[in-house]
Subunit: 188 residues, 2 copies
Amino acid sequence: MKNSLGAETVVPTTPVWVVGTYDKEGKPNVMTAAWAGVCCSKPPCIYVSLRKATYTYNNIMERKAFTVSIPSLEYTKEVDYFGITSGKKVDKFSTTGLTPVKSDLVDAPYVKEFPLIIECKLIQIVEIGLHTEFIGEIVDVKADSSVLNEKNLPDIEKVKPIVWNIAGMSYHKVGKSVGQAFSLGKEL
Amino acid sequence: MKNSLGAETVVPTTPVWVVGTYDKEGKPNVMTAAWAGVCCSKPPCIYVSLRKATYTYNNIMERKAFTVSIPSLEYTKEVDYFGITSGKKVDKFSTTGLTPVKSDLVDAPYVKEFPLIIECKLIQIVEIGLHTEFIGEIVDVKADSSVLNEKNLPDIEKVKPIVWNIAGMSYHKVGKSVGQAFSLGKEL
């Protein structure tokens, strides 16, 4: 017998991604988002869902582009700061000392110090309710050499991404592998 | 200097969720999805992105409802099986011995043995490309007592959800908390 918790978004797991945009004047901004993920393989697309009240919402509307920078665990403090402050009031890069890098493919900046970044051009806007979903086509993914495995792919144990736990309002690390896909299930 | 990996969806983290549906004849089916997440707080909504070739795609089109059952680590083998087989050919519940439970709120079944489930009614269909995004409004979330914390919320360390690592094609556990949100960043 399961307990009803009501119509709430208290579900794991969601990512901790940092969305990079430029405002009208060209000031780089970043915000943390957990309502985000992959939504298509061909074309490769990710989405971020944002409230209209955010600075980033208007920036994406204006520039039709965004990046996602995937932080390592060591930047959890900066990531939390990016989520509790607004680019309307502060310059989040100068406060944290992190470095905005202009993408040469889309009209948006990414965070130099984060090991893995995704550059996107806006292709769809989906109105849902409090949140608007921005679907971006991935133009390129870039990674530091230090997080690549022998296949030139980002190794999750080296990237050390953060997972969001809304029920506990806590950030979590990703643990060890518990099995290989397309393999384990063959036993059944 | 970052290395270009091309326009690929090789990004962490995405969840490992099991989508439950009924087909035309009322046969319960489940499939594993990682292109899934939360996309709105009010109304509370999640999405799953599916290829048209999946059995689940047609089931959602037909029934306008789906559930997501969030598996614990101990069911990784069954979850992999749910991802590599099709409901067109097999009855995934009978093969694994897991139990379909009919939701009393939406026209879809969930997995009894999984600790946390989400019941959704379909509210939007977004055509993107190879994948179609189904946005479902959360009607209820239900959890086993064993995974609830003192606030009656699902404790991520008790739910033990699985994270998908596409770059390594591996399933991962969620590790310990590395900090509290809306708190850590105040130091900056």
